[in-house]
Every structure is written in structure tokens, then in C-alpha cells.
């Protein structure tokens, strides 16, 4: 309990730093630290899968994305210091926020006492899904349609980002070209770390059926390794009009949707699995989805195309 109190205080302190820091880069650094501390909070909330996801996506890739944006914006626009709100408006905003926070705190303190829970129902049907990790069972069996829509949303965000490319770079290479530095330090570390990272990513994906882990966490690690290899100058980002890239992005949702539609014929409903083959179907969905999500996350961080495709 003392540990929880201390952790909550530190998390709130870092959150205050993120809001109150003067320089944007400092605020982003605070946000990354906030994400990692939040992963600890998730462990204390008995949610190790969420802790892995928060550390990987919430803190890792989001932090990288925001840091890149912060450094680019620092060069483009000076800090808009003249536009800050006056003290009166700040006080009014503070009062509003205190009211909202008090409202949510009241909800927390007035939650119904025998807490309603779906855990017994999850446990009752868990062995029929063939999985040992209840969160993966919820994601891939009980609420598989939410996961399908989530994968499609990622793809739609990517299409939205690609549509922001300027005309001359349409269908081209995202981001600036990174070259290996003269001493080759980053390239050396990338050559050492990327194989280990790929192994860890595949392991976390594979072990997610019985232990904390799963496809999103594993896919994020694979995406991070791709981003690292690009930053170290070992690879270039692929041009977005390449057919193999588009196939890689689409194969996950396509297989998911196909198995979903086949569920009508085989087991009586959308995304219904025949009982004896449930685990096989789930794995058949998970492997292409992991690859697609890894590619999608890496390309979301890479951004819109900036260099012409055939130049």
C-alpha cells in the first residue's frame, strides 16, 4: 500500500512536469518517463499484458514519434510564447479541471460494492478456446470483432497519413534518408540488437497464448527493430507504392476478415470458430496480423512520403 501511494505520487509528479515544462522536448521526455511509470502502475493493477502494451506502444513508439515531431517543430516555428492565456482564463480552466477531476473521483468512490465482473464467464469457457491467457482469449475469441476493427483502424490511420504526402512525393519514400555514421557505431549496435529484438518480439507474440504477451506487444517490438534498422542507416524505408509492402499491410486484416466470413459457413456466426479447431484458427489469424501490425506501426512512425518514388 505504501508502495502504491509512492508510485501514484511519482506518476502524478511526472504528469505535472509534462504539463508544466517550458520546452516541448523536455515535456516529451517527461511523457516517455510517464509512460514507463504507468507500466509499473499496470503491473500493480494485476494487468501484465497491459503493462507490456503501455511500455511498448504508449511510451516507446509514441515517445519516438513525439520526439521526432518536437525536434522538427523546434526548427520550424519559434515557441509561441506570446499567445499564452492570461491569468484569469488559466484560473477558470483550473476550476473547470478541478470540477472534472472531482466528478471522476466521486464516481470512483461511489462504485457499486460487490463489483460486477465478467471474470467467471471468461474462466468458464477458457478451455474451449484452447488458450491459457484470459486477456488473449478476450481479444481473439470473445471480442474478436473489436480486434478486427482495431486492425482496420490502424490501416485507416496509415492511409490518412500517406494522403498527406505532397504531390511530387506521392507514393514515395517516407522520411529522410538516414546514412550510417562514419564510425559505424549505430550500425554496429543495430546489427547486434536487431536480431535479438526480432527473437524477443516473436517470443512475446508466441507466448501470449498462455502467458502475458500477445500479438500487439510482439508486433510493436518487431516494428521498433525495423525503425531502429532504418535509423541506423542499415535499411531505407520502402517506397509506399511498392506492391509487396501493400500486400504485407493488408494480409493481416484480410485473413482475419476471411476467417470471420468463413465462420458463417463453418460455425454459425461471424468470427465463430469451430470448437475443435479454435486454437488453430486463432493462430492462423494471429501470425499474419502480427506481421501486418508490425509493418503498420513502423510506417505510422515513419510518416508521410517525402521523397519521390523513382528518384
Amino acid at each position: 500500500m505504501a508502495f502504491d501511494t509512492g508510485l501514484a505520487v511519482v506518476v502524478l509528479g511526472v504528469a505535472v512536469w509534462t504539463i508544466a515544462a517550458r520546452k516541448t522536448v523536455a515535456a516529451v521526455a517527461g511523457f516517455v518517463a510517464f509512460g514507463l511509470l504507468l507500466a509499473l502502475v499496470w503491473v500493480r493493477l494485476a494487468a501484465p499484458d497491459v503493462a507490456l502494451t503501455e511500455a511498448a506502444i504508449g511510451s516507446g513508439v509514441t515517445g519516438g514519434l513525439l520526439l521526432g515531431a518536437a525536434t522538427r517543430l523546434r526548427r520550424i516555428e519559434p515557441s509561441a510564447a506570446g499567445e499564452t492565456l492570461g491569468i484569469g482564463l488559466k484560473l477558470a480552466a483550473a476550476v473547470l479541471c478541478i470540477l472534472v477531476a472531482t466528478g471522476i473521483a466521486a464516481i470512483v468512490l461511489l462504485l457499486p460494492e460487490p463489483a460486477p465482473t465478467l471474470a467467471p464467464q471468461v474462466a468458464k469457457n477458457l478451455d474451449r478456446t484452447g488458450l491459457g491467457n484470459p486477456v488473449t482469449a478476450v481479444l481473439m475469441a470473445y471480442r474478436a470483432i473489436d480486434t478486427l476493427l482495431e486492425v482496420v483502424v490502424l490501416l485507416l490511420a496509415l492511409v490518412g497519413i500517406w494522403s498527406l504526402a505532397p504531390d511530387r512525393a506521392w507514393g514515395g519514400f517516407p522520411g529522410a534518408r538516414h546514412h550510417a555514421d562514419s564510425d559505424g557505431l549505430l550500425a554496429f549496435v543495430a546489427q547486434l540488437l536487431v536480431p535479438i529484438g526480432i527473437l524477443v518480439g516473436i517470443h512475446i507474440f508466441w507466448v501470449g497464448s498462455t502467458a502475458p504477451g500477445g500479438e500487439f506487444q510482439g508486433a510493436t517490438i518487431l516494428a521498433a527493430m525495423w525503425i531502429f534498422a532504418v535509423m541506423a542507416g542499415l535499411l531505407d524505408t520502402p517506397a509506399v507504392n511498392r506492391r509487396w509492402l501493400r500486400l504485407l499491410l493488408v494480409i493481416g486484416p484480410a485473413v482475419f476478415l476471411a476467417i470471420g466470413l468463413a465462420g458463417f459457413a463453418v460455425a454459425g456466426g461471424f468470427l465463430a470458430y469451430p470448437e475443435a479447431y479454435a486454437k488453430v484458427m486463432i493462430l492462423t489469424i494471429e501470425v499474419p496480423v502480427t506481421l501486418s501490425i508490425a509493418a503498420t506501426l513502423a510506417l505510422l512512425v515513419a510518416g508521410p512520403p517525402e521523397r519521390p518514388p523513382n528518384g
Partner: protein, 97 residues
């Protein structure tokens, strides 16, 4: 036996926390980036190493212990790389030896 292990764990983790404290004080008080990097390296390598050593006594079996050591080694690698890169940005030319 487990009391001895617990005592060693507490000792090692406290020593690691001390190195983290020293590293943070160095980060905040040293005058220029290179010496701050030096302070951070102590926190990373020795501090984390002692914490991992303390946790090794509590580890449930060989795979868990190997994973803890793996975490320490990966942090060492990442820390060393980032330290080199930052130092090179701050002071790009080799000193005339």
C-alpha cells in the same frame, strides 16, 4: 537460508539505489554534458547491476535469473551507445592527442 538471501537482496538493492541517487545528483549538479554523462553511466551500469544482483537472490530458477542478467546486459549496451552518440554530438572533433 532464505533470511540470509533476503538480507543480501536488501543490501544489494540499497547499494544500487545509492548509486542511482549519486548518478541523479551528478546529473543535476555537474557543470557540462560530458561529466553528466559520466554520472549517468555510473547509475546505469553499477546501480542497475547491483539491483539485478539483489534480485538474482530472489529469482525463481535459472531461466528467470538469466533473463534478469539479459536485461542488465541490454541496458548496458543501450546506455553505452546513447552515451557515445550524445558525447559525439556535444564534442564532435577528436582532441589533438
Amino acid at each position: 537460508m532464505s533470511l540470509v538471501l533476503d538480507g543480501l537482496s536488501i543490501l544489494a538493492v540499497c547499494a544500487g539505489a545509492l548509486f542511482f541517487l549519486a548518478g541523479t545528483v551528478g546529473l543535476l549538479r555537474f557543470p557540462d554534458p560530458l561529466s553528466r554523462l559520466h554520472a549517468l553511466a555510473k547509475a546505469d551500469n553499477l546501480g542497475l547491476g547491483l539491483v539485478v544482483l539483489g534480485l538474482l537472490f530472489q529469482a525463481a530458477g535459472l531461466p528467470a535469473a538469466l533473463k534478469l542478467i539479459g536485461v542488465w546486459l541490454l541496458t548496458l549496451l543501450a546506455g553505452a551507445t546513447v552515451t557515445q552518440l550524445i558525447a559525439r554530438t556535444v564534442r564532435p572533433t577528436e582532441p589533438q592527442a
